[in-house]
């Protein structure tokens, strides 16, 4: 049975160190700092503290992490090593001193174009949601240029959309309108058509959608948008399901963001950094943020001359360190390798779904892409998730998408083999059985993690957000 390491590790400020010393610095008296409450420790104390904490944390390097919508695939170590070689470069160095770095960005832009069939890319956005926001700014700028921003106030999205989609559209100043899904788990075309008119700025969708279901009517959807002068936006969170099989460009999308930290294997770092490049087609390339990396046949350079640029969405050029890792991943796999990754991710997902679907309810249709959503028959999703931890596997995403109550959203990724999937399936079956025969064991789970079930209500009722706060 799994047992996570368990320490009663103090907080950093509770570790005893040396006394604080005063030092004299040449700053104006009235702006001088009196004291700083940070302990003075030896290097070994610091390393032990954080090493112990790391042992109370779970990552993909430990075992499977089927967190739906997050594509927790294995992060090859080659990429980590390579990224280190670019650690000490400043982004404002003269171009002649950073040709290698610019070449990586250029090659990445070009490879992303080939994968998505889009005409231009910016690598600037720092994450998926930031890419969405950038995309929405592009939608704004485009309609403004056409003199239609005044009337095109609405961004449509399916009720299965990720929370960042409505949040990004709203941040860019649009009204958000949700389109219901039909009984097959796809966008209700009639509802979409009825909602689309000359007030529509864009429709945001991911394909396959968050249920892991491919929107079969995608060409029809694109037609409805374009007929009405609206743009079609692709949330690339789910690109792992279609690489080499189809592409946003072929499906008729105008703007797409990718998540390098999902599809292209860069580690998620406990929440980030990510990287959310945005690709566009046609005349939209003239609106991209600056700079864009270009090649004049001899050298690479940063082009700040983009006709209708929206300016900048972030400082410098984006999360370069993440780009290097994604670049190495794509180079290593090549087009065939990416396609094979997609095929295996979809095979793994369907295999796992097939193995557990008798024991968990599978709403909507059967064939899924890289992920699928089920619900427990006799338990809450939360309790199933907590119980899974006891077996040394990470839980799926729970309670998302919102249109499935008690959702367990499972994305095994291509990194797992049949043996891991079989084991995971067996654990899921055992938990389904426990839910009937011994539900207490679920409600009290987890038992084998560093901590027992954590009280979220208390945390929110009396927020203690720093060590300065006293409970």
């Amino acid at each position: 049975m799994y047992q996570q390491a368990k320490y009663n590790e103090p907080l950093l400020n509770e570790i005893k160190g040396e006394e604080e010393k005063e030092i004299s610095v040449d700053v104006p008296d009235k702006l001088k700092r009196k004291s700083l409450n940070i302990p003075n420790l030896e290097e070994w104390q610091v390393v032990r503290h954080y090493t112990r904490l790391s042992q109370m944390n779970y990552g993909v390097d430990i075992n499977t992490y089927p967190l739906g919508s997050c594509t927790m695939k294995y992060n090859p170590k080659l990429n980590e090593e390579i990224a280190k070689w670019f650690s000490y470069l400043h982004p404002y160095q003269e171009e002649s001193t950073v040709q290698g770095a610019l070449q990586i960005m250029y090659e990445l832009q070009e490879m992303l174009k080939k994968i998505t069939d889009m005409d231009g890319f910016t690598l600037q956005p720092a994450a998926g949601a930031h890419g969405e926001f950038t995309g929405m700014l592009l939608v704004r700028a485009y309609h403004e240029y056409k003199g239609e921003l005044e009337k095109r106030r609405n961004v449509l999205l399916p009720d299965s959309a990720h929370g960042t989609n409505p949040a990004s559209a709203a941040m860019a100043g649009f009204n958000v309108i949700e389109i219901p899904s039909n009984e097959k788990g796809m966008v209700d075309l009639e509802a979409l058509e009825a909602a689309t008119d000359d007030t529509t700025a864009a429709f945001m969708i991911t394909n396959p959608n968050t249920l892991g279901i491919f929107e079969e009517e995608i060409l029809e959807i694109a037609k409805i948008m374009h007929k009405n002068g609206a743009l079609l936006y692709y949330d690339g969170a789910n690109l792992n399901a279609i690489m080499g099989i189809t592409s946003p460009g072929i499906m008729g999308f105008d703007i797409v963001h990718l998540n390098l930290h999902k599809t292209f294997s860069t580690p998620h770092g406990g929440g980030g950094p990510g990287s959310g490049p945005v690709g566009v087609r046609g005349e939209l390339v003239d609106f991209l943020p600056v700079p864009i990396v270009r090649h004049d046949g001899e050298k690479y350079y940063l082009d700040y001359n983009v006709k209708h640029t929206i300016g900048k969405v972030r400082s410098f050029y984006g999360n370069f360190g993440v780009m290097v890792k994604a670049w190495a991943y794509i180079k290593r796999l090549g087009g065939e390798g990416l396609k094979n990754a997609t095929i295996r991710a979809v095979l793994n997902s369907n295999y796992l779904k097939e193995r557990i679907k008798g024991y968990y309810e599978l709403p909507h249709k059967d064939l899924r892409k890289h992920e699928f959503v089920v619900k427990p028959k006799n338990a809450r999703a939360l309790d199933v998730a907590k119980r899974l931890l006891d077996f040394g596997v990470h839980a799926p995403t729970i309670y998302f998408p919102l249109i499935v109550h008690e959702a367990l959203m499972i994305e095994p990724t291509e990194s797992e083999n049949k043996e891991t999937l079989d084991k995971f399936a067996e654990i899921m079956l055992q938990i389904a059985k426990e839910a009937e025969e011994n539900p207490e064991i679920l409600k009290e789970a987890p038992h084998n993690t560093a901590f027992k079930r954590v009280d979220e209500v208390l945390a929110a009722r009396k927020p203690v957000l720093t060590w300065k706060d006293k409970r």
């Binding site: 610091v46 954080y50 001193t97 994450a127 960042t164 929440g271 079930r453």
Partner: protein, 438 residues
């Protein structure tokens, strides 16, 4: 039979294409035209590309302008390199993610100590987006629409800010600096009115100047939000902005232990007062207990966030810069209060030493008569972009070139940064090269 076919068979499929039978044939792709490389070839190719760059160890450079090249102790790299940390994701399951949660809580605490504020979130993308988010937060608090920023706000930051507030119909107005490169208090006073959502002040500012007027601003603001942009390392020796009335503190956390890495990943610092915590963007980690009563940590106050509030969330941020926060807290722990103060002092001392050397060589440095942190402007006799290129021939990379006319009262000049990575010999090299090419 291999396991691939085995699994297909289990699905009653004859070929992998059936897995994609729901994808209309009209949208099938011919494949992706990218050649694969074996691992050694990728390694070798990347080595070749890395060799085409000159980093600060190959050639000293004096660039800063918001992010800085500091030394990253191997102990910090070792900690961040724990794959339990870097291969995890957002701690949605707190029981199995206490390590990352505690580190993030410690990061929030360290930022709260440095800034003096009550709360800090667990990261924004970078300082620029923190500024954009601060303006949006000011609007949520006072429903006003004008943001006042210093006239020397860097254009990139201004552009990001404008993009962040466009959707709210907010606008930006600039207030002037005085002849010492500090906020012109009387002029600012005249500009503040009932439309002012927020006043943004940088300390040290874009010219490296430590602004001596920052403690006289809060009282002129009324309901307007006072947002201060900081270099977090400078706070080891400078008064925390909370002590002079800041409502929001933002800054670039890269400075604390993150490799500069050609400009990213970076780390947006975002801190505020307790009364505004529910208006804040970004993730927050809070203390609580587990079922056994042991102290534990968990993501909290999530009703502000996009996965719950969707279109009405305080921000769209989801993936953040959590690992950069690990770098930062490990860096702060490694140095401790004493080490950070020494480091800040060394950065300041370096700036002063370089100023003196430049002055002895006949240059006007710094342009503004003020105390500076680790960066300052030196006046140059001709186009600074040309000078920057010519310096390379002398084996040294200058700072950020600034053309006359970009900023009021600033002639042709260069913004020079002096972290602990700069040695005296590097300064001598720069000064003699500058003399030659000027």
């Amino acid at each position: 039979m291999n396991e691939f076919d085995d699994m297909l068979k289990y699905l009653r499929m004859n070929s992998w294409e059936e897995l994609f039978s729901d994808i209309p044939k009209e949208v099938w792709k011919k494949g992706i035209d990218i050649e694969a490389m074996d691992e050694i070839s990728v390694y070798r190719y990347a080595k070749e590309l890395a060799a085409k760059n000159k980093d600060i160890f190959d050639m000293p450079n004096f660039l800063g302008a918001g992010i800085y090249t500091h030394y990253i102790p191997p102990a910090v790299l070792e900690i961040v390199g724990r794959s339990e940390f870097y291969t995890s994701y957002t701690p949605y399951q707190p029981e199995i993610s206490q390590g990352m949660l505690q580190v993030q809580f410690e990061y929030q605490s360290v930022i709260a100590e440095l800034t003096g504020m009550d709360v800090a979130n667990s990261s924004m993308y970078d300082a620029h987006t923190s500024l954009g988010e601060a303006a949006r937060m000011a609007y949520r608090i006072n429903k006003r629409k004008e943001v006042l920023v210093p006239e020397n706000l860097y254009w990139e930051k201004e552009s990001v800010l404008k993009n962040y507030i466009a959707g709210l119909g907010m606008s930006v107005k600039k207030y002037p600096l005085n002849e010492r490169g500090m906020v012109a208090l009387d002029k600012l006073q005249e500009l503040v009115n009932e439309d002012t959502a927020m006043v943004y002040v940088e300390n040290p500012n874009f010219f490296g100047v430590i602004d001596e007027g920052v403690d006289e601003i809060k009282e002129m603001l009324g309901k307007a939000i006072y947002t201060v942009g900081v270099n977090p390392l400078s706070l080891a020796v400078l008064k925390p902005p909370a002590d002079y009335g800041a409502d929001i503190v933002i800054g670039e956390g890269q400075i604390l232990g993150n490799p500069i890495s050609f400009g990213g990943p970076l780390l947006g610092i975002f801190a505020t007062r307790k009364q505004y915590v529910r208006k804040m963007p970004g993730r927050l980690i809070g203390e609580t207990v587990d079922a056994d009563g042991r102290r534990a940590f968990v993501m909290t106050l999530q009703t502000r966030e996009q996965h719950i509030r969707r279109g009405k969330a305080t921000s769209n941020i989801c993936s953040n810069e959590a690992l950069c926060a690990v770098f930062s807290v490990a860096f702060v722990a490694y140095y401790g209060a004493n080490g950070l103060k020494e480091l800040a002092k060394r950065n300041m001392d370096n700036a002063r030493m370089l100023m003196e050397k430049l002055r002895s060589a006949g240059f006007n440095a710094p342009i503004f008569d003020a105390k500076h942190f680790n960066e300052f402007l030196v006046e140059l006799p001709k186009n600074p972009h040309e000078i920057s290129k010519e310096l390379l021939k002398h084996g040294v990379h200058g700072g950020l070139p600034i053309n006359a006319g970009c900023y009021r009262n600033v002639p042709n000049s260069m913004l020079l940064a002096t972290t602990e990575m700069i040695r005296e010999e590097d300064m001598d090299k720069l000064v003699s090269a500058l003399k030659e090419v000027s």
